[in-house]
């Protein structure tokens, strides 16, 4: 099986408080070096809480954000977005906010035509045929084509967003919280649609969400992100039912589940560290009930095979 997406020590640092003269006021390490591989046809889920660097990571993968370090390979070739008309055919993105990802002043048809025209240079007849095909795939009616985005509900708008991504005919889709703006009954529709498309078209997904249950339900493998680092990767069925990293355990225990009694899963009520002033050693240490001496000095790296965790004292 070939590798669809390869991240090698990919990192991003934002400079905050930029001044015209003099040094910047600080740096935020939004993504620490991340190394990951996504085989073709897999769905890799990425979970993490707000501000942990999920979107930053995703935007680097589609060339919307310049990485500060490391490299990205898409289907064996380094990421190169110098020519947007070529790059768009290799990887596509589905946005979190379905409404704001559609230009309010364009009809759905104009929105759908852009990738077909710019990426594939199709003429009018070809475009119309292709749009009909795609709309059939995502269960949208063609009468929607001449309407404006504000006339649609969130779920319909997200289908249009997915349709647009499909129009590029890229084999890899980055889905950044594609259902978190949707209601649960609609969320299930969109998730099922995504699963069906993947199977039918043989796509590769990187699926980002803060909802553990959703990620578990759609992913083959799951990576857990904390404070810009991947702290655990493993098979979807293992990661939450059998976590190795204390943070993953905390996440899994915090998720409200029917039939589980209400307990504050954490004794010490601390929250995320200050990104401008990160702690030394393991970023989770202040909240970790298992912390030992090494944790304060060194940064743990991912280890283990198959089910990896970045922790000096992983759980079993």
């Amino acid at each position: 099986m070939s590798i669809a997406l390869k991240l090698d020590a990919l990192s991003k640092t934002f400079v905050v408080g930029k001044q015209l003269f003099g040094p910047p006021k600080g740096r935020v390490h939004a993504v620490h070096p991340v190394t990951l591989e996504v085989p073709e046809g897999e769905t890799l889920g990425i979970v993490g809480e707000s501000g942990c660097g999920k979107s930053t990571l995703a935007r680097m993968l589609v060339g919307l954000l310049e990485p500060s370090g490391g490299s990205i390979e898409i289907a064996g070739k380094p990421l190169d977005n110098a020519d947007p008309a070529v790059f768009g055919k290799r990887i596509q993105y589905v946005f979190q906010d379905p409404i704001s990802s559609l230009n309010p002043r364009k009809t759905v048809r104009q929105i759908m035509e852009a990738p077909l025209k710019r990426l594939h240079g199709m003429d009018k007849a070809q475009r119309d045929r292709r749009i009909s095909e795609i709309f059939a795939q995502v269960n949208l009616r063609e009468e929607f084509l001449d309407r404006y985005p504000h006339e649609f509900s969130g779920g319909q708008a997200q289908r249009i967003g997915i349709a647009r991504a499909l129009a590029a005919e890229a084999r890899i889709l980055i889905l950044d919280e594609p259902v978190s703006a949707l209601d649960v009954s609609v969320q299930a529709q969109v998730l099922n649609l995504l699963a069906e498309l993947k199977q039918r078209l043989g796509l590769t997904y990187l699926f980002i969400s803060h909802d553990l249950a959703v990620v578990e339900a759609v992913s083959d493998r799951v990576a857990v992100l904390y404070f810009g680092s991947v702290v655990e990767v493993g098979k979807a069925e293992d990661v939450f039912s059998n976590p190795r990293h204390p943070y993953t355990k905390l996440l899994a225990e915090s998720a409200p589940v029917v039939g589980r009694a209400l307990t504050a899963p954490e004794g010490r009520e601390t929250e995320l560290p200050d990104p401008l002033n990160p702690p030394k050693g393991c970023a989770f240490r202040a909240r970790c009930p298992y912390a030992g001496e090494r944790c304060g000095d060194e940064v743990p790296q991912l280890s283990g095979d198959g089910h990896q965790a970045a922790c000096f004292y992983p759980l079993r």
Binding site: N103, A168, N192, E216, V257
Partner: protein, 625 residues
């Protein structure tokens, strides 16, 4: 087109449009009218009064016909004002779009320049330009346009920055577009309405400014006259012959006022926020227009809603956000309300204390009894004295719901002192106690923090502390943990649970998460399309949901620990509450629906401890009572 009809609906704008149309028409046909030559002097006839023989508006100090000069002057003033507005708008917008779209260094450089220009009181710049180029109408036009470019540039840049960061611009990049094309086809269409608004609201201003320069003798030069220079020349005869001043002055006033009226209309029609009527101010309490009878409360509920109906009246549409909701909580009980977005949970909650924004909200029926007293339509002062003291709220987004400019300590103190006559010191001591109650570490120093200095979880604790400030009997918590991360949510939920047991609080807890309901609530009510479809003890409802909607809603939420799988989605969408189907609102999505479901009202019937609004329940229930 909808734009024109919107404009026409605004009566003042219509007046402006008509007046302006008339003036423009006059200016256009001036050369065709049988008027005296505006520049021919006839000193024998100087200062004729209006309506004198042979002249309608009289003559000026050189005996020139004022009507003729007025019309020619209007022509000139309009032309110059519009030209200045167009030039300033086009150049300013171009600069603003480039700065806003490219950002970074380009933006920095351009905006420094703009700031520099805006550091002048604008007339100094205009005077300097006229001083350099020499007096003259064309130079005055250049000066006025140049001076206004920075205003446009800054305004348009702000808008462009907002648009350039929208996701559809990213999408356009991924669809293979280059920057120049994105600016033209994605950004520009969204900026043009703003440019038009800015222009329509500044044309009047530009006409005033060019007239001003002419008034000072720096604009149009004799014998040619625009309205400003007519006024300037008439100034020396102000006392002896005021009509020579009044005529051009009133003309300027009429033109600018008409343009301003029209400009406001254009703005209202183009600005989507104004169009949806969103910029209305919510009043102190929700409007009540109750027609039906006042229902009586049931049982020993401390807070009891019966048949509550709350609607939103927007233009000619009626949104039945809450269509007859009944529930009650007993002291110490926790009632969960669950439903998808738009099902009316928050509106129900806000209706209790008359906090639904009105306009457009109206309570049209039912009753809210607090300890036996009906609050719907209660006098404002009565409602206010109960708000926060007997029934308190916790809202969803703690950053938006705390005042950003006051320290949290002061906000807590205020909450105490609006209901109790205690000294600031006592209130502060109580506030400190409250922060400790909600387990905020270093409570002492936290009192001095502003909301933006706290994390989301801490802010929500402050929100809870504020709700507890006056030891209320009932707390209504509207999705208090939805904006928080799961780990923080778990902390807040367990805090709320502890507090309610310690203090014997009745809690109404609104959420869309079954897991949360299961963990916290004694009873649960499920809402769909503004109504309760099922209610009962939490365990019973979750174990054996009786309403098809409840069952399928539970089934379509993935639960942790079940691995990768297909989900059981509910097809279709919830109905829009301004267009509810007759009969069961769920019928279009329900696979058990029959003809009977689509006809007539289906009542919420009690079956032992449970209640249900369905003809074909999913489980065996006790017989209806």
């Amino acid at each position: 087109m909808s734009f024109l009809s919107l404009l026409a609906r605004n009566r003042l704008a219509l007046v402006g449009l008509i007046v302006m149309g008339f003036v423009v028409l006059l200016a256009l046909v001036t050369p065709l009218l049988p008027l005296a030559d505006p520049d021919v002097t006839n000193t024998g006839n100087r200062f004729l009064k209006p309506f004198s023989e042979g002249t309608l508006l009289g003559t000026d100090h050189l005996g020139r016909d004022l009507l003729s000069r007025l019309l020619w002057g209007t022509r000139l003033s309009l032309a110059v004002g519009f030209a200045a507005a167009v030039i300033a708008a086009v150049l300013g917008a171009a600069v603003g779009i480039v700065a806003g779209y490219y950002g970074g260094r380009v933006d920095n450089l351009i905006m420094r320049g703009v700031d520099m220009l805006m550091a002048f009181p604008y007339i100094l710049l205009a005077l300097a330009i006229v001083a350099a180029l020499g007096p003259g109408l064309l130079n005055a036009l250049i000066a006025v346009a140049a001076v206004n470019i920075p205003f446009f540039a800054r305004n348009i840049r702000g808008i462009t920055v907002g648009i350039a960061h929208k996701e559809f611009v990213d999408a356009a990049k991924l669809a293979g577009m280059r920057d120049a094309r994105i600016i033209v086809s994605e950004v520009l269409p969204n900026v043009i309405p703003v440019i038009v608004i800015a222009m329509s609201t500044t044309v009047g201003w530009m006409i005033l400014e060019t007239a001003g320069l002419s008034f000072l003798g720096l604009g149009s030069q004799p014998p040619q006259a625009d309205l400003g220079s007519m006024l300037g020349e008439a100034r020396s005869a102000l006392i002896t012959n005021p009509h020579t001043s009044v005529v051009p002055g009133v003309m300027i006033l009429i033109i600018v006022m008409a343009i301003n009226l029209l400009g406001d209309g254009v703005r209202d029609a183009l600005d989507p926020r104004l169009r949806s009527g969103a910029l209305t101010r919510p009043m102190a309490a929700t409007t009540v227009r109750r027609k039906g009878p006042v229902p009586v409360p049931e049982g020993e509920n401390v807070l009891d809603l019966r048949g509550l109906e709350t609607q939103f009246h927007v233009k000619d549409r009626i949104y039945r956000a809450v269509g007859g909701v009944s529930w009650g909580v007993k002291p110490g009980e926790c009632l969960g309300i669950i439903g998808e977005s738009g099902s009316g949970k928050s509106v129900t909650a806000l209706s209790v204390m008359g906090l639904v924004a009105s306009p457009p909200g109206v309570i049209t029926g039912g009753a809210v009894h607090y300890k036996g007293e009906d609050l719907v339509g209660a006098p404002y002062e009565r409602l206010r004295s109960l708000r926060g003291r007997e029934v308190a709220y916790i809202f969803q987004d703690p950053l938006a719901t705390l005042h950003p400019l006051y320290k949290v300590g002061d906000q807590l103190v205020e909450a105490i002192r609006v209901h109790h006559h205690v000294s600031d010191k006592e209130a502060r001591a109580k506030a400190l106690g409250l922060l400790k109650d909600v387990r905020i570490p270093n409570a002492e120093s936290r009192l001095e923090n502003y909301p933006h200095e706290m994390s989301g979880g801490m802010r929500q604790r402050v929100g809870i502390a504020m709700a507890l400030a006056n030891d209320p009997e009932v707390i209504i918590a509207d999705e208090p943990t939805t904006a928080l991360d799961v780990t923080v949510q778990a902390q807040i939920l367990s805090l709320l649970d502890t507090l309610r047991r310690e203090k014997g609080l009745a809690i109404v807890f609104i959420t869309h998460d079954f897991g949360v309901v299961a963990q916290l609530c004694d009873r649960v009510a499920v809402m769909y399309a503004g109504r309760i479809v099922e209610e009962g003890p939490t365990q019973m409802v979750l174990d054996a949901p009786a309403h098809p909607y409840t069952r399928r809603l539970i089934a379509c939420v993935p639960e942790l620990g079940e691995g990768k799988r297909e989900l059981h989605a509910i097809p279709g969408l919830p109905p829009a509450v301004n267009d509810l189907p007759p009969g069961c609102a769920f019928a279009p999505r329900c696979d058990k629906a029959t003809e009977a479901c689509r006809q007539g009202e289906i009542a919420l019937e009690a079956h032992g401890p449970r209640k249900l609004r369905c003809l074909f329940p999913e489980t065996e229930l006790e017989a209806a009572q």
